[in-house]
Subunit: 326 residues, 2 copies
């Protein structure tokens, strides 16, 4: 099934906005509460919790973040799961979502229905309500933009850059080769993130979306250096698979591919590594690996990442940048 | 200044995502609090109020909602003001905004800076913080999607469809001809909406975005008829101006143009019209006009809008539908 389809089957321009909005409400079913708590009024009305909220925003563009052959259900699931991964990296549980649909006139309504099916299933699985949205017509691009709110049950967020010298550096799962399938079919590390926010020993966290080689810089505190042993990086089987034809090493793929949706985080030096890993595995089957530590930066040291082990920093660090056409 | 500009001045593809995000934070200045309350972490952290929240979402697409000649400051202001108008129609005060930018590679950064300037100025004027966002590259379309949250100070929302037979029907300001300028330069009826939510006599409300001829249906309760005297409609001077060359009547423009961003609302029969208008004008200079009332629908009556006065229903009711190419 393809998203843009002017020849076969009805499109959004055949239906018009009113019919489309009516159908979207049916497609969402009980994942969308009735108005005014959900879609159908000028705004959605939410009861507030005494807990602080976390709120994030993410977009998917056809031909950039998903291709013609991507199953629409997976695209719907991916959009929500990307936002959930952001909340997980703050230690927050998802609650309410709003979805803006930017649709060219020849968007297939059959494709859109399956997209909403995937979104609905994912929303129900994590107890998230789709409370609002908007459909807008574009000239050519098909895009979706989601805003997701959640609550910080632990009453403190897992921020970036808040690690301290001596902290150990950890990563969940394994890295690289996401484009072979994981980028569409991943499970955000939500339970792990919420647990980490409750665990006083975890000092900072980020989810790996643009690749370890970029997201390391975003986690590094202003006056600290991340010292990382590349021999310890958990490299995914798909990194090895891609390396067979890409001309890059599996390690390069682990640093550069991105869309891993794993959590990269720091733990206080006072928490012994073995004890932390034991506690973790009492809760989760998810692999967790200590890959380095934070140190004081030395006088005049510019780079905030110091690598030891196989590979070269200039090859491994940098990652993907949007817009740049290099 | 034009938004898409591959020949003169830097574009987002020259800058790349990292530089663009850094500059956006500078452009927003104190309209965006530091992380983790604002931009810069996986999600923004918000303290909650005990009051219920209202949340809405709206998008603008270049070539659909704003043209090449629109000043970029006005486009930034328009996006936020459209969302504020939605909140005003619920009786909520704006609080936190997130902005998704969907940008083709040749988007002019100079244009974008001015867009953010207009957004910042509008946000500061209404005490709204830009707490998050996202920049994503598209193939061709330039679009912005905003999510805005607010608090219901009155602790009750102004919903649609909640009017009762006997209620009077009112509208703020005047209607039609918005495309001659008001669509870019309007002030949402925020103070009025919040006041209405506190006024126990106001039973339902909507903001007029698609045109009176469409939004009347959205306000009409399921088992009621809106009876409207077209002679009472406050027709804007620009409706008269457009009618001189459009082949339509000024009344037609008042019903069909849309983008009025006025509030359409109902008031309990127990509130005498004169007394309501006197109370209103103690608070606001904004014009307010009683244009009709709600009645019980008669047995078998299908249409939920009944017009008296000049003009024909089939000509006046219907309004604009997105996507439809008629």
């Amino acid at each position: 099934m393809v998203p843009i389809n002017s020849r076969n089957g009805p499109t959004v321009s055949h239906w018009g906005e009113n019919k489309l909005l009516q159908e979207i409400r049916l497609w969402l079913g009980d994942a969308s509460p009735p108005s005014p708590e959900g879609i159908g009024d000028d705004a959605a009305i939410l009861k507030n919790s005494a807990l602080p909220s976390a709120v994030t925003n993410d977009s998917l563009v056809y031909g950039k973040h998903f291709a013609e052959e991507a199953p629409p259900e997976s695209v719907g699931a991916k959009l929500l799961n990307r936002c959930i991964s952001d909340l997980a990296a703050m230690g927050a549980e998802p609650h309410h979502a709003l979805l803006a649909c930017l649709l060219p006139p020849d968007t297939s309504v059959e494709w859109l229905q399956s997209f909403y099916g995937g979104l609905r299933k994912t929303a129900r699985a994590c107890d998230t309500r789709i409370v609002g949205g908007d459909v807008t017509s574009t000239h050519r691009d098909l895009a979706f933009s989601m805003t997701l709110t959640g609550y910080l049950e632990a009453n403190r967020p897992l921020t970036r850059k808040s690690g301290r010298p001596g902290d150990t550096l950890w990563v969940t799962g394994d890295l690289g080769g996401s484009s072979l399938g994981k980028h569409l079919h991943f499970e955000p590390r939500l339970g792990e993130g919420v647990w980490m926010a409750h665990h006083g020993g975890v000092t900072s966290a980020i989810d790996i979306s643009d690749g370890l080689g970029i997201d390391l810089y975003r986690l590094a505190p202003a006056h600290g250096v991340i010292c990382l042993d590349t021999a310890k990086i958990p490299i995914s089987p798909t990194s090895h698979e891609m390396a067979r034809s890409s001309g890059h090493s599996p390690l390069w793929h682990a640093f550069n591919d991105g869309e891993d949706y794993e959590l990269l985080f720091t733990v206080q030096a006072a928490c012994a590594k073995d004890a932390f890993a034991r506690n973790w595995h009492r809760e989760f089957d998810t692999p967790v690996t200590c890959i380095g530590r934070l140190e004081e930066s030395e006088k005049g040291e510019g780079n905030r990442i110091r690598l030891s082990g196989p590979g070269h920093a200039e090859d491994l660090l940098g990652g993907y940048e949007h817009f740049k056409s290099t």
